[in-house]
């Protein structure tokens, strides 16, 4: 059954249910209490009524005697008036079977009265007709009837009083403990009210709570929740349907969004792939333009020509240049051995000396056992190149470069020193801190800068203490010492043996 009541109606309904429950219980209590009070109040009603009858009876008896004695018309009128009043009063005592004990006795009283009234009337009538004998006889019978009546009335009154006293006592006792019971009832009704209230509020709030739970679930990203069932078509029902609609729409939207994202991603991937292809094509094109083989073949051709012309020096020079570039292309960003590094330094010094007419005196002090140690490629040549570029310009004295490869403690120390201009302390600090230095940056002319060498060494050996640059002062030359950890060397030796 669907709840068609609005939210407001339901709240009013809850209020009315609890209100009416309390109202009905209070009404019942009130009625019961009223019944008890009425019972208590009416406990002695019978006695009171009987006393009224008795008073009227006495009047009647008195008036009968008075009339018989005086034959006064006023007394007679009064007698008839009282007789009517008495009959009216006594009529309440007439009952028909089945009767209770009290009713039987009241009925007996009524019959006794009836009998008495008959004699009294006969006596009065006889008096009126002046029938002395008859009125005296009826008067005597009326007197007897009066005696019977009063005696029976007194007895009935006593019985009634006794019964009423018992009844009154019972009622009073009942009143005392019904008070307690009604307090209990009020408490129980309060409990009942609270129960009903909780039950109805629960029914009212449950759909909201379910909605809230589902909303939290949805908020946590779970869109596969069971949709909120609604048994009502009120505001809550509308909110539930709207929420369900929202969840369905959200799911649709997310599905659409996901599909759109997938499409976009595919398009972007395709675009990147195309771009890469274009760049690759461009690179290939450029590489094709500076094909080293072409360069080396050209240089080799030059060397052969020089040899054919018996120009040995030219042949050697071209050969050295070819070797230098081949190595440089091959080894850049790869590892090489110390021996190979020294070879390219040799070639480079030779080429430079040809350029500068053998100005540079180059000395090597190498521990032959260390020639096979692997080090990052192209690290010595850039250092030597820096010595020539930055250490020797405008130097008038003999230009010397000394390279040594020695073992010291746990390291292999490769030292490159010159007797050039030297480097200021601040510049050394900048170089060591990997800050750009205008003087030292050698990348700009196609070479590899010292900063690049330092970075590669540090990365390769995963250590900060791999290089040390020392310059004693201006014109005092510079020494660059590389510290190659021996561990590496040992490992390499083991690998060599294994291989």
């Amino acid at each position: 059954m669907r709840n068609r009541r609005t939210f407001r109606d339901q709240i009013v309904y809850i209020f009315l249910v609890t209100f009416f429950l309390m109202f009905i219980v209070n009404l019942l209590i009130f009625q019961n209490m009223k019944a008890i009070i009425d019972n208590v109040d009416s406990a002695y009603d019978g006695n009171r009524k009987l006393m009224e009858v008795r008073d009227k009876l006495d009047n009647l008896q008195l008036e009968m005697h008075e009339y018989i004695n005086t034959k006064d018309e006023n007394t007679l009128n009064k007698f008839y008036s009282d007789e009517d009043a008495y009959k009216e009063l006594i009529s309440d005592f007439k009952h028909v079977s089945p009767m209770t004990e009290l009713q039987i006795r009241e009925n007996s009283l009524y019959n006794l009265s009836d009998n008495y009234i008959l004699y009294v009337n006969q006596a009065v009538l006889a008096k009126k007709t002046r029938n002395v004998e008859e009125y005296q006889s009826y008067q005597s019978m009326a007197n007897k009837g009066y005696e019977y009546l009063t005696a029976y009335m007194t007895d009935l009154n006593n019985t009634m009083f006794h019964n009423n006293s018992v009844s009154y006592r019972n009622m009073l006792n009942l009143t005392k403990y019904t008070e307690v019971l009604y307090i209990v009832i009020l408490f129980l009704t309060g409990g009942l009210d609270i129960c009903i209230l909780l039950l109805l509020i629960k029914r009212l709030v449950d759909p909201l709570r379910k909605l809230a739970d589902t909303a939290i679930e949805v908020g946590n990203g779970n869109l596969d929740v069971m949709l909120v069932e609604s048994s009502s078509v009120n505001e809550i029902g509308i909110v539930n349907s709207s929420f369900n609609q929202m969840v369905i729409s959200l799911k649709d939207y997310i599905e659409k969004f996901r599909k759109s994202m997938e499409t976009e991603s595919a398009l972007r991937e395709q675009s990147i792939r195309m771009e890469t292809a274009v760049k690759d094509a461009q690179l290939r094109y450029l590489q094709a333009q500076i094909n080293p083989h072409f360069l080396f073949n050209t240089l080799n051709a030059g060397a052969q020509l020089a040899m054919m012309e018996n120009a040995d020096k030219t042949y050697k020079y071209i050969h050295k240049v070819a070797d230098f570039f081949r190595f440089k292309i091959k080894q850049n960003d790869h590892t090489s051995s110390i021996g190979e590094e020294l070879k390219i330094v040799d070639d480079y010094i030779y080429i430079i000396n040809v350029r500068y007419s053998g100005e540079i005196i180059y000395n090597k002090n190498v521990d032959e056992s260390l020639l096979n140690v692997s080090i990052p490629g192209m690290i010595l040549q850039p250092i030597v190149e820096n010595c020539i570029k930055h250490g020797f310009p405008e130097v008038e004295w003999e230009k010397r470069i000394d390279v040594s490869v020695t073992e010291e403690d746990d390291n292999i120390v490769i030292s490159v020193s010159d007797n050039g201009l030297g480097i200021p302390e601040s510049v050394i600090r900048d170089i060591m801190n990997n800050e750009k230095s205008g003087n030292i940056d050698s990348d700009k002319d196609g070479g590899i800068g010292i900063d690049n060498v330092i970075m590669r060494l540090k990365n390769f050996y995963n250590s900060e203490d791999v290089i040390e640059i020392t310059s004693v002062g201006p014109n005092m030359g510079t020494e660059v010492a590389l510290f190659i950890p021996k561990e590496i060397k040992e490992k390499e030796n083991v690998q060599d043996i294994d291989s």
């Binding site: 219980v25 019942l28 019961n32 019944a35 008890i36 019972n39 079977s97 089945p98 009767m99 209770t100 004990e101 009290l102 039987i104 006795r105 009925n107 007996s108 009283l109 019959n111 006794l112 009998n115 008495y116 007897k144 009837g145 005696e147 019977y148 005696a151 029976y152 007194t154 007895d155 006593n158 019985t159 019964n163 018992v166 009844s167 019972n170 009622m171 006792n173 009942l174 019904t178 019971l181 209990v184 009832i185 129980l188 009704t189 409990g191 009942l192 129960c195 009903i196 909780l198 039950l199 629960k202 449950d206 739970d213 929740v225 069971m226």
Partner: protein, 338 residues
């Protein structure tokens, strides 16, 4: 999903529990209301209803037998819709039974039970009442020649015969001395009982040489009576073998004298009137037997005969009620009834 169903189930269980609790509370409240309502009804006096109203008139309110018969008639009539009212009980008037008959007739009662006598005044009252259509049934004593419808007789003569038979049964000697206590104001009923005793002893007890003594006792002063009893029972010589009490008062006085004076009784005492103390006296051996009219039967017969007359117009004119004899053999049954 499972969590959701679990929550729903918990919520349903909570709701069911709440409804059960609610119903229990409702039942308690209804129960209390019903209880109060019943108490309210019970607080009023007995509300039994009756279809017939009979009036019971006895000579004396102190008469054990009459009281007993009235109580039995009242209790027997109540569940049958018959209210038996004892007219003389609370009126405190010095009226004769004839007056009470007239009064009952004026009350328009359905029937009248009266302990009558042969007096003309009573006869006249009975006749007047009968003429008014109100049936009169005499009890205990009759009004011969009146227009009463029936006479329910306890059978005093028969009672005397029962006394006599008990004497024959319990006597230990061949020539027992039987003493009958006779009040100085003894009525005709007492004489009938004595006659019954004598005749039975002469006929059925002719093998015995019974010495029959009628001992007159003061019927008005209790202490004199008790002194007399004490004298008789404490005498070292000349104690009667058997003592017979003819009414309840005498029986109770004898019993009290035995207890008050701590008399070790050698004589065998036969009494009348069934009460708890007297039944115990049989059990203890102070009395050998109690002879009494069957009051229950008498009350029942009164009510039944009157009702039968009102319904059918005919009635048995003379109804004799059986006697009750309590001895050591059957005393337990009567004690249990008491």
């Amino acid at each position: 999903m499972k969590e959701y169903i679990k929550k729903r189930l918990i919520a349903d269980r909570y709701e069911k529990r709440m409804i059960v609790f609610l119903l229990i509370l409702l039942l308690i409240i209804i129960g209390i209301f019903a209880f109060v309502h019943i108490q309210l009804q019970n607080a009023s006096v007995d509300e039994s209803t009756y279809n017939y109203h009979y009036v019971f008139i006895s000579k004396s309110e102190d008469s054990y037998t009459a009281n007993h018969i009235f109580e039995e008639a009242r209790d027997y009539g109540k569940p049958r819709g018959i209210y038996v009212e004892r007219l003389k009980e609370n009126l405190n008037l010095s009226y004769t039974n004839a007056d009470y008959i007239k009064m009952a007739a004026a009350m328009n009662a359905d029937g009248i039970f009266v302990e009558a006598s042969a007096e003309d005044e009573i006869k006249e009252s009975i006749n007047d009442t009968s003429n008014e259509g109100i049936p009169v049934v005499t009890i205990l004593s009759d009004c011969p020649g009146s227009r009463r419808k029936s006479f329910v007789e306890l059978g005093q003569y028969n009672l005397g015969r029962e006394y006599g038979r008990i004497v024959i049964d319990v006597t230990k000697t061949r020539s027992p001395e039987v003493m009958v206590l006779v009040d100085d104001d003894a009525d005709s009923g007492t004489i009938q009982i004595i006659n019954g005793i004598k005749e039975t002893l002469e006929n059925e007890g002719n093998h015995l040489e019974v010495q029959f003594v009628e001992q007159e006792v003061d019927g008005t002063l209790n202490f004199r009576f008790m002194n007399k009893v004490n004298d008789i029972l404490s005498a070292k010589r000349g104690q009667p073998d058997i003592i017979i009490c003819l009414n309840v008062r005498d029986t109770q006085m004898v019993y009290q004298a035995i207890k008050d004076y701590s008399i070790s009784v050698d004589a065998q005492i036969i009494g009348t009137g069934i009460s708890e103390s007297l039944l115990k006296s049989i059990k203890e051996g102070d009395f050998v037997a109690l002879v009494d009219a069957n009051a229950t039967q008498a009350g029942m017969m009164c009510v039944d005969s009157m009702t039968a007359y009102l319904k059918n117009g005919n009635i048995n004119e003379h109804i004799i009620v059986e006697d009750t004899i309590v001895t050591k053999e059957n005393v337990e049954r009567y004690l249990n009834e008491e």
